[in-house]
Symmetry: C2
């Protein structure tokens, strides 16, 4: 995410500098660390072009919302920064691999992503498949480093949270529902269940992984989980709205594809105005959960939730 985009989202929200907090500045510093770490960890020297394909899938693009949520949650609990940076990159690798596989011809068959040709268009389907697989493995590798910088207990917890959110009960399960729902109409409950898994699960896990880098009370964890669930769903509601209202250049991906692919969306179920109202309700829920968490420095989490709802791409 560029600084411009972050600022734009926040200006729309009108809450960007509450308590003197500047999300744009906060994010810029952290994104620099994340981009640097991703570039270090997604190695170019993997054999037979695999490294190049993996780097193309991960670097130079992406909003990095998930890494920012990890880092913001870690800061809210005063957690282990080395662990949080690994967790931030691991979540982003899972997100990146899911996009690579999701874009393939047997899935959404999309050719444009982050303003560039999709991975299979650029490198072929076989390399795209393998690069996605290798990115998933690398995510877990990042979470389980040698040495003592990240305590074993934390490594195990981070692996558990990421595996559960990425797998059949989370993201992959949501993709399966998505696949089966093309051309069907879902009611709001079914749509919410699909998105809770497909998108919400990994966004919520980002928050929980950040929190797992420190020591949070059971109350704080429970409230952060509620925050993560609300932000995760709000993200998808806004995504569905943007697919209708934005153009491909702004989105960096093909606009209008939900309707073209006859996918049920929040816009198709609630309409544009209803979706906007629902997104605002979810934002309120997220912010109330934060307020009830007992955590002191939740300004970045607050600002990120606001940005998710007010973003324009």
């Amino acid at each position: 995410m560029s600084d411009e985009t972050l600022s734009g989202g926040l200006e729309a929200a009108g809450t960007q500098r509450q308590d003197g907090f500047d999300l744009s500045q906060w994010s810029a510093r952290r994104l620099e660390r994340v981009e640097h770490a991703l570039s270090d960890w997604v190695v170019a020297d993997a054999p037979a072009g695999l490294g190049e394909t993996m780097r193309y899938a991960v670097l130079d693009g992406g909003k990095r919302l998930r890494p920012l949520l990890v880092l913001a949650a870690c800061e809210a609990v005063h957690g282990n920064e080395a662990a949080a940076l690994r967790a931030a990159c691991a979540v982003e690798l899972i997100h990146a691999y899911s996009l690579v596989h999701d874009d393939m011809p047997c899935m959404d068959n999309d050719v444009l992503r982050r303003g560039k040709p999709t991975v299979h268009v650029k490198f072929g389907q076989a390399q795209a498949l393998l690069a996605g697989d290798a990115l998933q493995a690398l995510a877990f590798e990042l979470l389980a480093p040698d040495g003592t910088a990240v305590p074993a207990q934390m490594q195990a917890t981070l692996c558990r949270l990421l595996a559960r959110s990425a797998g059949h009960a989370g993201m992959a399960g949501g993709q399966a529902i998505d696949l089966a729902s093309v051309g069907r109409s879902l009611d709001e409950a079914q749509l919410r269940e699909m998105h809770r898994r497909k998108t919400g699960s990994l966004l919520q896990a980002s928050v929980m992984m950040g929190a797992a880098c420190g020591a949070a009370s059971a109350t704080a964890l429970s409230r952060l989980a509620a925050y993560g669930a609300a932000v995760g769903l709000a993200f998808q509601v806004v995504d569905d709205m943007l697919d209708v209202t934005a153009d491909s250049a702004t989105l960096g991906k093909t606009a209008g594809k939900d309707a073209a692919q006859e996918k049920p969306t929040y816009v198709s179920v609630l309409g544009l105005d209803g979706s906007a109202a629902f997104a605002r309700t979810l934002l309120e829920q997220a912010l109330q959960a934060l307020a009830a968490s007992g955590l002191k420095d939740t300004r970045a989490l607050h600002a990120l939730a606001t940005m998710v709802v007010n973003r324009d791409n």
Copy 2:
């Protein structure tokens, strides 16, 4: 692997009941536990048919060589049995997902596996892609359970070993080399490097994960790594031989496909006799490493190495 197959391999070796050890009996008990655990853990209730696809990819078939190596290594170090059962299943899930993706049209485009239609033939490419992705995530989920049955330190080590062996430096990297080598001739060193990653890495990791379920000396770990490397390479040399000498019914997969796909193999580089001699040399190396490990009960590891070289499917 059926009992018949194990016995057949061992009878050919003529070493099956050294020291009164009966691999067939040893394996039968452990395979029962593995099959039961896999059936419990690969859940049918994943949404939209995903669970059914995952179970089809994993259950009712497969030699389960990797799980047996995990359990044998764990027993050699008197390790944590609950951890080893999880590790055994996790390794098998990674193996199973790699087969699902490898069989897809954009990779090897194979229609027969374990005597049944491949996953994408049965369930479609999109489901095959997702089921593979979900199986990889589930592997790591199994290694990082809640509770205290598996200590956190052990969970972290198991995740580390599995992630490294499955990813760009291991299996996925080997697949990329494989993909790039079609129609080319490789020399023995290049072929060995490809197979060290593609097949050997996960087989060696199986041994090391079993060992990580207990407390082994540095010497024992180093010798077990050598054992795992030799067995891993021997497995592939024999695989290349069987692709030429066995028929599809015996193999349970399409025979002769290496030549049909112009893939470089040990048979193409060393010939059949040369490959057989190389496999015997590797078996000797494996058994010497075991003998030098200082571990007392290595009979199952001994018998498994012998079986790998003498198997007929």
